[in-house]
């Protein structure tokens, strides 16, 4: 800063303001309290009010969880919450499926860790904390030690597979998506094939997870096609795709479930067997989610610069190859966080199938309060809080994962 235009005396430059984050770490506890809780009279009043409010909420919450809540209803019905009417003699298949899942996830994460940037073990543990809490709570509610022992074995499988995955040559590590795909298929085979249980007989948390995973997996290809159709140069295709997307996005999911539950039979020719309720619900979810996935993917497609397409055309790629090799990979990479968000919302929306008398976890919660042992005791709060807790841990873990993905993907941007 040299002589000012008005010729007044030159001022010494002020020191740069302290960075907020750095200063906060160095504040002593007394200064921290004064700056963050009592910086002005209004601030102090707010602190007192919110302090009392929070203390009350925490007190009531803890009292309910530890003292006044009658959790016997959850303890007795834990299996119902987990799997609904899934035949009890088939439960070993579930454990087998859990082991397969543990092996697949461990192997995949190990391979990904060896191929990509590694995260510190502390961060990984913190990320998994909500799910770990859920598992510990569930196991503590169980009445026999068997589930806990089997879970320990599962964790051992997971860790073992993880380190195996790290050892695999880098050439294989690039094929990590095949591992995940294979895991999903293997779980499916273990549960349903060779004398297994068809998904119309599944229930509880198992069904909730199945509807969410199958819903997003099946709606993804349809959504991508709809998004491409919406940006197609063929007006006829465009009109049909836009019509479908806007129609679906304009109506509530429950109306589609109505359609699937009450009216699907009317649209099938006589003689065609009527699908089971779970299948119908799945059809409604896929039809619904595809429209939302299409809009997300469209956002990604719009983010791919036209220079990419022009370059692809310049080296002589056909339109199909341009889309498949140049446009889609870039577009899809950018929309992964949004797709996770859509998956979370689908996961929460699975609660709506309670309407079709399908026994997912929320309808289990409503039914158990009417059992002979628990009827008329006003145990709805306990059942619903438990279900909320299950939903919450999954959604919270996934939303944290999506935020992390977002930050990670943004690193390579521009």
């Amino acid at each position: 800063m040299t002589a000012g235009p008005t010729g007044t005396a030159t001022l010494e430059p002020l020191p740069p303001p302290e960075a907020d984050t750095g200063a906060a770490a160095r504040l002593g506890p007394r200064r921290w309290v004064r700056e963050n809780l009592f910086s002005s009279p209004l601030d102090s009043v707010l602190t007192v009010i919110f302090g009392l409010l929070l203390a009350y909420v925490v007190y009531r919450g803890l009292r309910f969880a530890l003292v006044s809540g009658r959790w016997e209803i959850i303890r007795v019905n834990l299996t119902n919450f987990a799997i609904g009417r899934f035949p009890r003699e088939q439960v070993p298949r579930l454990w087998a499926a859990i082991f397969v899942a543990a092996a697949g996830i461990g192997l995949g994460s190990g391979m990904a860790a060896s191929a990509g940037p590694t995260s510190r073990p502390v961060d990984t543990l913190r990320r998994l904390a909500p799910l770990a809490v859920l598992i510990v709570v569930l196991l503590s509610l169980a009445r026999t030690p068997t589930p806990a022992l089997l879970t320990l074995c599962g964790v051992a499988v997971l860790v073992g597979a993880h380190f195996l995955g790290r050892r695999l040559p880098a050439r294989l590590a690039r094929r990590v998506h095949w591992v995940y795909l294979g895991t999903v298929l293997a779980i499916f085979v273990v549960l349903t094939q060779f004398g297994g249980v068809a998904w119309n007989a599944w229930g509880g948390l198992l069904l909730t997870l199945f509807l969410a995973v199958a819903g997003i997996a099946l709606s993804f290809p349809i959504g991508v096609l709809l998004a491409l159709g919406r940006r197609s140069s063929f007006p006829a295709v465009r009109v049909v795709c836009v019509g479908y997307i806007e129609l679906i996005r304009g109506v509530p999911l429950i109306t589609l479930l109505f359609m699937a539950g009450f009216a699907l039979g009317f649209f099938l020719p006589v003689g065609v067997p009527r699908p089971g309720l779970v299948t119908r619900a799945l059809v409604a979810f896929v039809a619904f989610t595809a429209a939302y996935v299409a809009e997300i993917v469209r956002g990604g497609l719009q983010g791919v610069s036209s220079g990419q397409v022009e370059a692809a055309q310049a080296i002589g790629l056909s339109p199909v190859k341009t889309t498949r090799l140049i446009v889609l990979p870039q577009a899809l990479r950018n929309v992964i966080p949004a797709l996770v968000g859509q998956f979370i919302s689908l996961f929460k929306d699975t609660s709506l199938v309670a309407f079709l008398a399908v026994l997912e976890i929320l309808s289990v919660a409503q039914l158990v309060t009417q059992q002979d042992d628990f009827r008329g005791q006003s145990l709805q709060a306990e059942a619903l809080v438990f279900v909320s807790f299950v939903y919450w841990t999954f959604c919270y873990a996934m939303s944290r994962a999506s935020q992390r993905l977002e930050r990670r993907l943004a690193v390579g941007e521009r």
Partner: protein, 396 residues
């Protein structure tokens, strides 16, 4: 394509045969696509007709004129009235919960969103706790919880809770103060609209005056003054057309005020609590999205912190916030269909009852979807209008 037009004329003579001509193929391909879609729709339609006839159900929309045979609680609706009247009642109930819910959720969400940016650590944490707790639980679980575990477990009417003589809680719902029209309500409504228009005009005039002369505008204060004065004058000039009463508990009956049934209250607050957590995130995100340089520049030209917020930050963040906010309003309206789970008589619930009473399901559901589509389009229309008003001049 433009290159083709500019090409030398000899190319026209060597035009490829139709089965290899891109222009022909494009049209043919699209025609084929449309034919396939039309065939699929036609197939579904004829199957539907066959199935309906086989079950001797009506194939037209005449059922809308048939008696409903649905008893709608807490209304003077007569079960012998036609289905379309019942749907009108349902539409009104849907709008009642959605409109009130949108207003409350916006206020609550904005407050929480700003609280998340508070300098006070405790306020910030409390707001974050609210958002993270409510956002990650299905709205249906919240609604059912509020209905079965809160509303229905309030004390019976004989032991109803009264708060400050304004609100009465019981398991029959909430009673809150309300104004009942006793005089010329129509004239009063017109007067209110005129007063509101006048207030806006005065505020605009103050802004123009301020722009022209540089004196402080105080447009908001002037407008508010005109509004309050106008409302008071109109209220007394028209002979107090609206009587305000607070609910009074009187031997197992509540008189005065307006009663919100437990279903309505549970649905409304469930939607509000859930949507507010999403709106809070939008508000926070849109305020954070305004570049920091704007705040610094505003401070540099000497604006107070209120002026900085009012004239620099909020107008810019509003522009960012409007599309996602409209999306949340749409979601809230669509989620109001969850009323069907707790027995509030909205559109969906009435459609469900109509189907249960033997009305043809496909038509009834199509009508239901049409109603929601119309509601969604209305909200989208308003959001587009707001968007256009707020858009930067010259952009698009």
């Amino acid at each position: 394509m433009s290159a083709e037009q500019a090409a030398p004329s000899y190319r026209r003579q060597t035009r490829p045969p139709p089965w290899r001509d891109v222009r022909v193929l494009r049209v043919a391909g699209q025609a084929l696509f449309l034919v396939l879609i039309a065939w699929a729709l036609w197939f579904l339609f004829t199957t539907l007709l066959t199935n309906l006839r086989a079950l001797s159900l009506p194939t037209s929309f005449d059922y809308l004129e048939q008696p409903t045979r649905v008893d709608i609680r807490d209304t003077d609706f007569n079960p012998s009235q036609p289905v379309k009247d019942a749907l009108a009642v349902g539409l009104l109930n849907t709008v009642r919960v959605a409109a009130v819910g949108i207003v409350i959720a916006t206020v609550l969400g904005t407050v929480i969103g700003i609280a998340r940016l508070s300098r006070n650590w405790l306020v910030r944490r409390a707001a974050a706790l609210y958002v993270e707790l409510l956002r990650n639980v299905p709205v249906l679980v919240i609604i059912i919880f509020l209905y079965t575990a809160v509303m229905l477990r309030l004390p019976p009417i004989s032991e109803a809770l009264e708060i400050a003589g304004l609100v009465v809680f019981s398991n029959r719902g909430l009673n809150v103060p309300w104004g009942d029209g006793v005089g010329n309500v129509g004239a009063f409504t017109v007067a209110l609209l005129v007063v509101a228009a006048l207030a806006i005009a005065v505020a605009r005039w103050r802004t123009r005056r301020s722009d022209a002369t540089g004196e402080p505008s105080h447009g908001f204060l002037y407008g508010l003054g005109v509004l309050v004065a106008g409302v008071v004058v109109a209220y007394f000039a028209l002979g107090q057309p609206v009587a305000f009463t607070a609910p009074v508990l009187d031997n197992r009956r509540v008189t005065g005020g307006i009663g919100l049934g437990p279903e309505y209250a549970a649905l409304l607050f469930g939607l509000v609590l859930y949507t507010a957590s999403h709106i809070a995130e939008i508000v926070r995100g849109s305020i954070l999205a305004v570049p920091k340089g704007q705040t610094e520049a505003a401070s540099a030209v000497g604006l107070t912190s209120w002026q900085r917020m009012r004239y620099v930050i909020l107008p810019q963040s509003l522009r960012i916030a409007v599309p996602p906010l409209a999306n949340q309003y749409l979601n809230l309206t669509k989620n109001s269909s969850l009323a069907v789970f707790i027995g509030y008589f909205d559109l969906t619930r009435i459609t469900q009852q109509a189907i249960a009473n033997g009305n043809p399901a496909p038509q009834a559901i199509l009508v239901l979807m049409g109603c929601y589509l119309a509601l969604s389009l209305t909200i989208a229309l308003f959001s587009n209008m707001a968007n256009r008003r707020l858009a930067l001049k010259g952009s698009r």
